[in-house]
Symmetry: C2
Subunit: 177 residues, 2 copies
Amino acid sequence: MTALTAIKNRTSYRGTYTNETVPREALIKIMEAGLAAPSGCNKQTASLIAVDNPELLGKLRGVIGPLEPSDTAPAMICVLTQQIIAYRDRCFSVHDYSAAIENMLIAAVELGYETCWYEGRITDVDKIGRKMADVLGVPDDYELVCFLPIGVAAQPISHPEKKPFGERAWFNGFKNI
Amino acid sequence: MTALTAIKNRTSYRGTYTNETVPREALIKIMEAGLAAPSGCNKQTASLIAVDNPELLGKLRGVIGPLEPSDTAPAMICVLTQQIIAYRDRCFSVHDYSAAIENMLIAAVELGYETCWYEGRITDVDKIGRKMADVLGVPDDYELVCFLPIGVAAQPISHPEKKPFGERAWFNGFKNI
């Protein structure tokens, strides 16, 4: 699959997954794609933990709370970030892990899997990300900011409606089509 | 080129560019890839302006200041963001435009171009991004946060050294290889 096709086919899948497991080779390829993303001043602030142990998945789901479709995924990748200054007083950790996540979403599609970027739910006032980090033994200087369920879709894939190209992309000036 | 190959080949290119122009069709494909990225609650906070008009490129470079290698690029894509609340009181604009940028970097590689994510330089205290926005007629409720020079590399491509996989990616627990 070409990169452009994978980018176009990627969607935030919120349906159920089949019980087909995700081989370690595939999880490694997806994580390698994530780590290949650029980072501000090459600080590489993003780290990853793939979870494919059913018992551990169950514990994580216990702290995430009911999220039924994604609960059926046979694997999950958790995204960690570190606050490291890159340039003057700037830290680009959000940029870094966002680029890493996007790469993983695209890689998953190419390999035949679906996934979804879950972040707001676990970085909210409830601090679910910290509880997930505790389950995985993640120390306090790392923040767990996102998880991606990974598996084979059991339901049809859909794409949300987006604004037309001309409402968001222009040439040589603002709103100049 | 497969998505995994494009992801692996992508690098932050800081060399000079040939004088080969970038066709509109290619700029459109790259921007379509950017707009295909997910956004928090589908708020689509990122917008894009491709610049291929030489006079306008000159004006933008006048406010960016000397950046000699990238100055040779025949085109540039500027990334705009809007602060739109997505979820409770959260705005995911940085996530949204970072994912869009990453898609564009990958798409550019697939199409035979090189580019580089320039952000810190223009979002600093000097507010160069605002000056660029003024050149392009961008209103105050949009922030110009990044530009990507686009062109054909005239010099060899290199990849920065990255930490080994096992220092950033683990299975079923922190630092568990």
